[in-house]
Amino acid sequence: MSTHSTRSAARLMVSPSVILLFIWMIVPLAMTAYFSFRFYRLLSPERTGWVGFNNYTWFLNSPDFWVAITNTLLLVGGVLIITVVLGVLIALLIDQPIWGQGPLRILVISPFFVMPPVAASIWENLFMHPQNGLLAAVSRGFGTDPILYLETYPMVSIIFIVSWEWLPFATLILLTALQSMSSEQLEAAEMDGASALARLRYLILPHLGRAITVVILIQTIFLLGIFGEIFTTTQGGPGNSSTTLPYMIYKQALIAKDIGRAAAGGIIAVILANIVAIFLMRGIGKHLDT
């Protein structure tokens, strides 16, 4: 389909995006790496110099860092498990013969379109607030003291909020995959004598395998960078109990204004993301055939 004229025109047209993304990838990353090996604080910019791996060792020696890593992994893992498991169940339910599937889908999908600060704010104030929140009212209704969710269980609360936001995404993807399944395949299985449970186990779940893989992959990319919800509610606290790696780096960069340290943190975050990606690719890469 291609001839000389179209091919050279094509190359010209891809270039801007490739060049842009390339620069966007290489230059900032290189700069981050550069600064990570330097001492540079915005409040005292005259004092700069090479400090080798000092910034990195600061992180590795800081207990906050390991808490942040743990929290990051908890967040990603927790949300993944909740959204995928519930997503499959809800998708299966919605796919059954029911009335009003259209409007129902709209209800289920809504949380995904609520911007993270608003989602966090709604949960923080309208629900989890110890005096005025709805959950507090429920506790009082049961005669117990309201739970201070965001203070006592900060990480769990954050995981809950983020799961609420991302459950619709998982459900929608899985529902789409479910509905793309050929009904003839299921009918053939039924003629072969397979029960509903058997059809679920041997036909439906394997078919969903690919969609689940995609959901896990895409969600992981986004979940590793969750920021807005934490910024809005706990600011990483109390103490460091809900600080994730991105938030920790943010604090170093924009609050402590320690460029060197934040840069080192950034590089560590990139390495972490790559490790997670490798594990993901290896573990479930087989399901993917683009």
Partner: protein, 276 residues
């Protein structure tokens, strides 16, 4: 998958499904409800569902007093701006990758996907510094650039999958009919690509509006969109719940409505075409 089932079964499934759906939607519903209450009703204990005197005053207050209109406008400008910029760069790229694929095209696409995998904090420092040094910090232009770069892989991929669905033979027919490349694009490709471009535009506006990292870290006062505003507004003291609910409802309403119509686009765009 729905076949004739007993009505009993159908009722049971419907009840269960709607129970789940309503539960998931409840927080949004509660927020909208609260936005029409008086402040007293908003924090009443036990909670008031349907307020006796419901009011639009909260909306009026939020809109007229605080800088809310400015933040709203920033959100609009940044979302649409980054979308248009992104489309301008992505459309030619996706065109050539879809219609004149080379040996490296597949690799190129996967590489673009991988750039999305890089955590934003990895480039926070350079972005922050470059924005400070070039005066882009706390400007709408700066945010438009940042968000465009963030979403460019998604835009390219999404357009690519839509373009791939345009039968190559129709473009060849145009060529045989004597159309130059320019005419081919104007009279044949673009009309056929418009639905795909519109879908991509919709999804990108949604993603840009809801973005909550660069919009918070690279702004302070001038260019802060709604995401930054709500994020800083949400401090524990001095809160007025009804007004907060009104502010939240206005912040999410446009995207919520857009989102209801863009389920298919969401699936295609965010799974990079892997699920259709």
């Amino acid at each position: 998958m729905a076949r004739a089932v007993s009505t009993q079964r159908k009722i049971a499934y419907t009840a269960a499904a709607w129970a789940v759906g309503l539960t998931i939607f409840f927080p949004v519903f509660w927020t909208i409800l609260t936005s029409f209450k008086t402040e007293a009703d908003a924090v009443a204990s036990p909670p008031v569902f349907l307020a006796a005197d419901w009011t639009l005053q909260n909306y009026a207050d939020v809109w007229s007093r605080s800088d809310y209109p400015r933040f709203f406008w920033n959100s609009v400008v940044i979302s649409i701006g980054s979308t248009i910029l992104g489309l301008a760069i992505a459309i030619p790229a996706a065109w050539s990758m879809a219609f004149v694929p080379g040996k490296r095209t597949k690799d190129l696409l996967m590489w673009m996907l991988s750039t999305k995998m890089m955590p934003a904090v990895g480039v926070l420092i350079p972005m922050y510094l470059i924005f400070l040094w070039t005066g882009l910090f706390d400007t709408r232009t700066g945010l438009i650039l940042a968000l465009m770069l963030m979403n460019l892989p998604i835009i390219v991929w999404m357009l690519y999958t839509y373009f791939k669905e345009i039968p190559a033979e129709i473009l060849e027919a145009a060529r045989m009919d004597g159309a130059s490349l320019r005419n081919e694009i104007i009279y044949v490709l673009t009309p056929m690509a418009i639905p795909g471009i519109a879908s991509t535009m919709l999804l990108n506006i949604i993603l840009a509006w809801n973005e909550a990292f660069w919009t918070i870290t690279l702004t302070t006062v001038d260019a802060a969109p709604l995401s930054a505003f709500i994020a800083s507004f949400s401090a524990p003291q001095g809160l007025f719940y009804a007004k907060l609910s009104a502010a939240s409802t206005m912040a999410i309403a446009p995207i919520l409505i857009m989102g209801w119509f863009s389920q298919k686009q969401l699936v295609r765009g965010l799974t990079f075409g892997a699920v259709k």
